[in-house]
Amino acid sequence: MTPLLDVQALTKRYGGRIGCADVAFTLYPGEVLGIVGESGSGKSTLLSCLAGHIAPDAGQVMFHTRVEGPRDVLRMSEPERRMLGRTDWAFVHQNPRDGLRMRISAGGNVGERLMAVGARHYGEIRAQALDWLDRVEIAGERIDDRPAAFSGGMQQRLQIARNLVTGPRLIFMDEPTGGLDVSVQARLLDLLRRLVRQMGLSAIVVTHDLAVVRLLADRLMVMKDGHVIETGLTDQVLDDPQAPYTQLLVSSVLQV
């Protein structure tokens, strides 16, 4: 099997400070990779580099495109990369306000990516939007409401629907459950697990919440000061951590 994503020697510096350094990993179709570390560990920088939001200083990010096979995302033209961002990739922000258009109805939010790739039939766009609202457990009657009228959990589910409607193969998530109540988090995690399984999605989840990665991620990457210091199966890294920092990280949280 070819990896969906093959990252080599990815490095980003901010002046003299290291954002992330020499990061390498592969992600296979259907895999969920968790990236954990405390704030400032470089996990968000890494995610932004991978998703093309910021340009790294060195390295390569090979993505297995549908048409042309493996391509280095960092060497794609901007239109190509933006097209990828609307079709095969998805990005779920921690704050749904960053990932939604707050002045556009729920249906319009879900339909945008469809229209961006050329859908021009209102009835079909709306039918797909309804289908996706249903999949993320938002009542169809809310389709014309603006997200501002939604609860935090609903906004986050709407953001997921909006991202997944074009059937992407890779989804980036930045603290997807951050800022949500624990019970709402659980519902979202369940939803994400189901969608990942049903759609065969690959996902990269950045979080500081070890309970979230235990339930969501197959594999784990632990970061500190911009470096990856430990990788492995999620439960193995959490239950039998090898690196001093990981041992500290795992022992400093309540039992998960």
Binding site: R86, I104, E112, A119, Y122, R126
Partner: protein, 278 residues
Amino acid sequence: MTEYNFAYLDEQTKRMIRRAILKGVAVPGYQVPFASREMPMPYGWGTGGVQVTAACLTPDDTLKVIDQGADDTTNAVSIRKFFEKTAGVAVTERTAEATIIQTRHRIPETLMRGDQILVVQVPIPEPLRFLEPSEVETRKMHSLEEYGLMHVKLYEDIARHGEIATAYAYPVKVEDRYVMDPSPIPKFDNPKLESAALQLFGAGREQRIYAVPPHTKVVSLDFDDHPFDPSKAPHPCALCGAEGSYLDEVITDDKGGRMFVCSDTDFCADRRREGEAA
């Protein structure tokens, strides 16, 4: 000092504006930035259009100025007087006689010819502004031809009103490339954007000029199952009886009396003259 330079603006400025116009003609529908000048009238009164007109005028031109179809509204009258005073050009109210027509919110009913120029006053040139407030981002969207968002706006219309309720400033795609705001003309006028005349659009406050050269393809955006419909109120003009012209609703008394009359006053007057002659 009583003498103005011809058409008020100095020659350097007019040259700069002409360069912007030429660039606009070369890239139909593309918003060309230009260094808009202070004009002796407030923004919103057509300062963009006035600068474009000033840059196009020659002493031999005949100018017509209309505001929402009428030659006799304050805005039209003052701009006409402005150019009479600063350029000394001939003015007219007849569409057929004019070589340059500056307009706000309408395109004349009478089909324009290849030897005429239409100058349109534009308040907000960016069609994506409503959806994406960042200018940096909208410019990028234009350059990468990412126009899905424009359809989101139309989607919202249908979702809320059951049809595309946008009745004016209806977005168009020019020559299969740039999405353009045709200014707040009624969508009824959109088909006339495919014209034999050169159409120039000037936004003074926003410092943008764009153009639709003669015989350029201009397509109004729509959905397959909600096609563009340029229809208007289903009445004939109460004065000239025209069936196919854009109408204004005129309140005639305070008892709810009203009538529908041609918004294009010259067109209406022409028809009435012809009617009397016949």
